[in-house]
């Protein structure tokens, strides 16, 4: 899933101050899962904004809506009448949802209320962790299902580097050394000797480095 985090409230307030009719638009999928932009978060943020703007004696109407998946144009439609009646949209979906809103409502200023961060998983209670870098050429079978591109700070294909200490990355104690974990899991499966093979250079043209990507699926035509 896509993981995002709400922007600092002060940043949101500064950006939205100029408008008198704002709608907070959430998304019920990924950002709801990580408690950043779902229905509850829409209600709470709208409430905070009402309190904040009333303190400034600024009469602002804050509306609320929540879209099942803000990245799907058809799903935005049911809320479109409500949205078009506003002066500005504060989208607390991921960056994709924000862009869909901007595309659907080109005459309305659309503001991102979240910072979209990574593709990850709910690794443990209260904690989401990055798992996938979207490199476009998945070779997870070579590294016991642990992605060195996303989970090694240096994206090494033949790690670990000399910076690992006590199973942690040199960048931070919060980051496990991905290669220590790969070596451990490969060893447990009796496959450690496979790591003697040099994994050749990554070709980054399938990743974002090759330019923005697209996928065409003729079979998916309506």
């Amino acid at each position: 899933m896509i993981v995002a985090q709400r922007k600092p409230l002060s940043e949101i307030i500064t950006k939205m101050e100029a408008y008198k009719k704002i709608i907070v638009a959430g998304c019920e999928t990924c950002v709801a899962e990580c408690h950043a932009g779902g229905r509850k978060e829409v209600e709470l943020l709208a409430s905070q904004l009402r309190i904040a703007f009333s303190q400034k004696m600024a009469p602002v109407e804050i509306a609320e809506c929540c879209i099942e998946r803000q990245c799907e144009p058809e799903m935005i439609e049911p809320c479109s009448e409500q949205i078009m009646a506003q002066e500005a949209v504060l989208s607390i979906a991921c960056g994709i949802g924000v862009q869909q809103m901007a595309e659907r409502f080109p005459n309305l200023p659309v503001f991102p209320g979240l910072n979209t961060t990574f593709l990850g998983t709910h690794a443990k209670p209260t904690q989401w962790e990055e798992r996938c870098a979207g490199c476009g050429n998945c070779v997870l079978d070579l590294t016991a299902g642990i992605c060195p591109i996303a989970r090694c700070s240096k994206s090494l294909l033949n790690g670990p580097c000399g910076g690992a200490q006590d199973g942690k990355c040199e960048v931070s104690d919060d980051i496990p050394c991905a290669w220590a974990e790969i070596v451990e899991r490969m060893t447990k499966c009796g496959k450690r000797d496979q790591l003697r093979q040099i994994i050749p250079c990554k070709e980054w043209n399938t990743a974002r480095d090759g330019g923005p990507r697209r996928l065409i699926h003729e079979e998916a035509a309506p």
Partner: protein
Amino acid sequence: MKSGSRLEQLLARGEFVVTAELGPPMSADVEVIAKKAELLRHTADAFNVTDNQTAVVRMSSIAASVLCLKSGLEPIMQMVCRDRNRIAMQSDILGAVALGIRNCLCISGDHQSFGRAGKLLGHPGAKNVYDIDSINQIRMFRQLRDEGKFQGGDPVKGQVPLFIGAAWTPLGDPVDFRVIRLGKKIAAGADFVQTQGVYDIERFADAMKKARAEGLHEKTAILAGIIVPKSAGMLKYMNNSVAGVSVPEALIRRMSEAADQKAEGVAIAVELIRDIRKIEGIRGVHIQPVEWESIMRTISDKAGLLPRPEIPDA
């Protein structure tokens, strides 16, 4: 000869080689290099020129290496994977060779977050390059030199004489994988290897035993790293915070109890060199007097490493 460098020639002759380090300045000041060169001249056979070490911007390794050459020192240009993609790396190697550089040490490089430390702001927001890792970097340079081909497959005209180096952290985490990784670097084409600083002779000897069991000491020249300690505080710091450096308690105690810690540091370094020479498979030492270039001559002298051997002009 792969490169004809002094380092390569001495190793080929079976000499016990000595390398040292020269850190470029955080400026464009050529005088700094010239002064360090004076302190280091004839104390070692070749000198590592670091590449934006700890992600702090310094004069480039290639430029500083050329200045070393001008001062009569043989450089070992270091090139990290953090800042350059494969295009820039190959380009810089062609340039380096064109300017007379013959040795290159291939390393991953500290993450850019390291640049923000102490009083320095660094550039923690810099884009993370790491296009290829050090093992693929070694392989790429070997391909340039031995097959006359760029990494992408295009041919290279002419020779690219280069003596390729790698780093080894024998006591790094996870310890039992480190010899395997050394093997990969050698298979990729590492002609020589410099280790992280050794203080625990016993544990290092054990790692060397494992390396010898795989015949690695014969496929490459392993040079043991010696970091010259200045104080007990420095030893404690390295033991706790520098990955792969393990300092025995007894050594820390010895340093704490010394009347003159700097003199003790010199003595410790000299003893480490003496003990490491006894380990089978060690072909030299890489001495690092951190922020203390002036002590290099004393160390080389006391360790019986002077004078350095001559290379007759061809």
